[in-house]
Assembly symmetry: C2
Homo-oligomer: 191 residues x 2
DNA sequence: CCAAAACGGAACATTCGTGTTCCACTACTG
DNA sequence: CAGTAGTGGAACACGAATGTTCCGTTTTGG
């Protein structure tokens, strides 16, 4: 049961297929996942004995991606608001379909470091606080809310692509512009 | 089989319970829905013979709520941006748990006027275009994107309440502030 | 008060997803 | 070429959800 190249490749194919299928319908059957992966159901069970194993693997997989994105965004460089926007861009590009899963379905975000303990989440919260201090982020928005809104806009951008047939680039543009303006501390009347 | 008061009341109780239960887990069993409604599973099947009937009823129910909210917001009064914010507030207050359903699960928004044909949706799109003309909404944001983002922020606000234990009022405040700033045509550098 | 309406529980058949086992086939590798 | 890892299909048992029927009980309303 060594980690040969074939095994890791098959495993990844199943994982990718699972993300695609389950992001469309989180209660899809394992047969559908296997078919999407171009793999027999038997093989799928060889890699992930139970459904919960597959779900948890997706969760871990996602956490890794998030960590990478957070790292790439270099959150401690430059004004905080710009860093948040960079982070959003990285998320968009690295997460794809996974987004729908973690955002809409609680089953993928349970049983792990989620949601309070994740290092990346804490980094984002700290970043927003820095933005409050350096004046680049509206002090009327709490860090926790910014986090929520960031994910929501990301999901919206992805849905924009899937449902409205907009290009990824166009959707990301609208998303980042919205985020930028949302965070910007303006002199508009306070709601 | 006349429309006695008892029947409508029972039907509504089931519908409400279904929204609560299914918004937590869209693949919950009908037994759970019946229990939440304080009703026997037999009775539930009397009103909604198949699961799909219940799902569709929720869809229709939601459309009605949306129509009411759109009406109350008086979209043709005042600056367009303020009208959008009013609409968002009405949505938040009238939709509650239903939000999670229509937003995350496609099964509730299929088989109806959804999504392209709904009168309320068209009204929102037209409203944004009016905002482009009267200069109250950033011309860099397309009407379709504003629609997506509006729903996303609404969902974020609701999740904020459910997951972070924030008060409805506080969550709505953050949501509306974000929306307002997002739409505002500022003089910030263009992304 | 009495009949009709509405309800709840038990039981049943059916379907579907799941998890498992067994066996034959293919591909790589020494 | 032989052996082994990997695969896929068929078949099976099991449980859960669904949809239906039947019947006794409660509630409603004229």
């Amino acid at each position: 049961m060594v980690e040969t190249g074939v095994r890791t490749r098959t495993r990844q194919a199943i994982l990718d297929a699972a993300v695609v299928v389950l992001s469309r319908d989180s209660s899809a059957s394992l047969s559908e996942v296997a078919r999407e992966a171009g793999v027999g159901r038997t093989t799928l069970h060889r890699y992930f004995p139970e459904r919960s194993d597959l779900v948890q693997a997706i969760g871990t997989f996602t956490l890794e991606r998030i960590a990478v994105a957070t790292d790439r965004a270099k959150l401690d460089v430059g004004p905080a608001r710009e860093a948040v926007v960079r982070l959003c861009r990285e998320y968009f590009e690295l997460l794809g379909d996974v987004l729908s899963l973690v955002f809409t379905d609680p089953q993928f975000s349970s049983g792990l470091d989620w949601h309070e303990e994740s290092e990346s989440d804490l980094a984002l919260l700290a970043l927003v606080r820095r933005g409050h201090q350096d004046g680049s982020i509206d002090r009327g928005l709490t860090p926790e809310w910014v986090q929520q809104a960031l994910w929501a806009l990301l999901y919206a951008a992805w849905a924009f692509v899937r449902e409205c047939g907009v290009s990824r680039h166009e959707a990301l543009g609208q998303c980042l512009r919205s985020l930028e303006r949302m965070l910007h501390p303006g002199d508009q009347a306070t709601g």
